[in-house]
């Protein structure tokens, strides 16, 4: 039993050493410059990860922007407002959203979501908010916006289920106290529940962020795979996970391969930090009760 438990430590150690040793070449060659250069030229042997980092951060931020209000809304609805008979069905359906494989999200995004964005959403955004500079340029459908939307759908169930769990952890007398003061139901939820569950909800959001940062297939299929930094969300972009998926098995030189692996290392470190913060926040709210982040 102890051996099994230690194997978990061993695996994580192995992952770290693999990433570090195999990216050594690129670490030595480029140093910190790797993360600030936007030159990605496999033929010329110049590698900079900035466009991928940019794409990962922007698509994940976009996803959270869209997903967080909806996730909290649906959690509040299921926990506090929903008729009892409907509760099981809706929560099962939301959990089902988490069970859909990433590649199927990608397939759906290519053939359904992207055309909808191209024909309806993008013309609307361009005409109403084009002045911001975020919604300009040719409308391909595929690009940063599509990646953000599909990621939002994918992280929603995670944020919603953690929000529900931390809301349930708020002691019942809190609600009763607020109600006894004459609050309406919404005031009770806002003051008695959401305010007390705040740290845990933030933890859930950050856990969703961790998922969005590392998400590979669906993003690769719709982000457009173009290493560039462009302000417009309509433009194709690239992400850290997608460049690994696309170029890892094509990397022809040792330096190329080690640059791709260094991106993997950076992705590992970022998701590690994000996850540790999230766990700490959720733990603070639920008082150490185990939280199942991978509820299906």
């Amino acid at each position: 039993m102890l051996l099994c438990a230690l194997s978990v430590l061993g695996i994580v150690a192995l992952v770290v050493t693999e990433l570090v040793t195999r990216s050594k070449l690129s670490l030595h060659e480029f140093g910190w410059k790797f993360f600030f250069s936007s030159q990605w030229d496999p033929v010329g042997g110049e590698f900079g990860a900035l466009p991928f980092i940019y794409g990962t951060l922007v698509s994940s931020a976009l996803a959270l922007l869209l997903a967080v209000p909806l996730a909290i809304g649906v959690a509040v609805f299921i926990n506090e407002m929903c008729p009892a008979g409907l509760r099981r069905t809706i929560s099962f359906l939301v959990e089902l959203l988490a069970a859909i494989p990433s590649v199927i999200y990608g397939l759906w995004a290519i053939f359904v979501l992207a055309p909808i964005l191209r024909n309806h959403v993008q013309p609307f955004l361009a005409s109403t908010m084009g002045w911001t500079g975020l919604f300009t340029g040719p409308k391909y459908g595929i690009g940063m916006l599509a990646a953000g939307v599909i990621l939002a759908i994918m992280v929603l169930p995670i944020i919603a289920s953690i929000t529900r769990e931390v809301m349930l952890a708020v002691p019942h007398p809190q609600r009763e106290a607020v109600l006894a003061l004459g609050a309406t139901r919404w005031e009770m939820i806002r003051i008695g529940v959401l305010r007390n569950a705040r740290a845990g909800i933030v933890g859930g959001v950050i856990l969703g962020l961790g998922r969005a940062l590392g998400e590979t297939m669906a993003v690769t299929m719709v982000i457009g795979n173009t290493p560039q930094i462009v302000k417009s969300l309509f433009a194709p972009a690239h992400s850290m996970a997608s460049v690994i998926a696309n170029e890892f098995s094509e990397a022809s030189t040792d330096l190329y391969l080690s640059a791709v692996i260094e991106i993997g290392l950076a992705l590992f470190i970022i998701t590690l930090i994000v996850n540790v913060i999230a766990r700490a926040l959720v733990w603070m709210t639920t008082g150490g009760m185990p939280v199942r982040a991978d509820v299906q």
């Binding site: 039993m1 102890l2 099994c4 194997s7 978990v8 430590l9 695996i11 994580v12 192995l14 992952v15 990433l19 909806l70 809304g73 649906v74 509040v76 609805f77 299921i78 407002m81 929903c82 809706i90 359906l93 939301v94 959990e95 959203l97 069970a99 859909i100 494989p101 990433s102 590649v103 199927i104 990608g106 397939l107 759906w108 053939f111 929603l156 004459g182 309406t184 139901r185 919404w186 005031e187 939820i189 940062l213 590392g214 590979t216 297939m217 996970a241 690994i244 098995s249 993997g264 992705l267 590992f268 998701t271 590690l272 996850n275 540790v276 766990r279 185990p290 199942r292 991978d294 299906q296």
Partner: protein, 290 residues
């Protein structure tokens, strides 16, 4: 709360309005969230069901341009890779879970629990890179075994957590009863505590299984995919999610149709597993797992 209608009557209009608006907003959020779910399932069925046939499920892909062909090799390949994953992930995960539940109330236990959480958060593509370095580079070629190792590693944290939670739900008195019979502790843990928690552990294992069954990223450079029949674990092997990916990004309409059909097969398998989990969890001795 609706019983407080008397109080509501004396509330100011703006507060009542706010309450109504918030309720409507939350309900609207629920509707918006469920729309993509229904849309995805709807499209999968509408676009996929037409291409489903017995030969689609049993034949390997046809050469480009030729009609017919299927995902038979992908289904079998996924089965083999998942089998290898289970052989690695279940014993290690259950073992680690037992350790955490029975002997894990110390610093080492907390550290391992934390590491399992870390492993759970590692992006699947990064696991793929690590397994590529450890297995594929050593073997000098892609293999189903490498794919199984990658998926097995991904199963471990979920199985560990589920096992620990389920074992902790077993009442202390049952352990004491077993120990009172003079059984050594390891025997009591295996034959009594674990026995009581079996249905819960199975639930956790199946959830982990459903989670990795659709994984594509870690297979890209481990199992790699294969257009032909292969049942040798030492060779590159097709897997259903990999085939969906290849077909989806291809320029051929025929392959797009097959991608939808293959997705329908995959999702039916996964949802079937999850539904079975709920059924087992609902009937089992330890409820509340799913």
């Amino acid at each position: 709360m609706s019983s407080s209608g008397f109080t509501l009557g004396r509330l100011s209009l703006s507060r009542r309005l706010q309450d109504r608006l918030a309720t409507m907003a939350a309900a609207a959020a629920a509707v918006i969230v469920l729309t993509p779910l229904l849309a995805i399932f709807g499209y999968l069925v509408v676009k996929g069901v037409g291409s489903l046939s017995w030969s689609f499920l049993t034949h390997p892909p046809a050469p480009v341009g030729e009609a017919g062909g299927g995902v038979g090799n992908g289904i079998v390949g996924s089965g083999i890779i998942l089998g290898i994953a289970c052989l690695i992930g279940i014993p290690l995960g259950v073992g680690a879970g037992i350790f955490l539940a029975e002997y894990g109330r110390n610093r080492l236990g907390y550290f391992i629990r934390f590491t399992a959480d870390v492993l759970n958060g590692v992006p699947s593509i990064v696991i793929g890179i690590a397994v590529y370095g450890v297995v594929v580079m050593r073997q000098k070629h892609f293999s189903a075994f490498a794919g199984g190792v990658a998926l097995g590693i991904m199963m471990i944290p979920t199985v560990t957590r589920a096992t620990e939670e389920m074992l902790l739900m077993v009442p202390q008195s049952i352990r004491e009863a077993a120990l009172a019979l003079g059984i050594p502790q390891w025997r009591s843990t295996l034959s009594v505590t674990l026995r009581v928690a079996t249905s819960g552990v199975i639930t956790g294992v199946m959830l982990a299984f459903a989670r990795v069954a659709g994984e594509t990223a870690p297979l890209l450079f481990t199992a790699f995919g294969n257009q032909f029949w292969n049942t040798k674990p030492n060779q590159p092997m097709a897997a259903l999610p990999l085939q969906i990916y290849t077909y989806a990004i291809s320029p051929f309409d025929e392959w797009h149709r097959q991608a939808w059909a293959a997705s329908l097969v995959l999702i039916a398998f996964i949802v079937g597993t999850v539904a079975m989990v709920r059924w087992i969890a609902g009937r089992g001795m330890l409820k509340g797992a799913a």
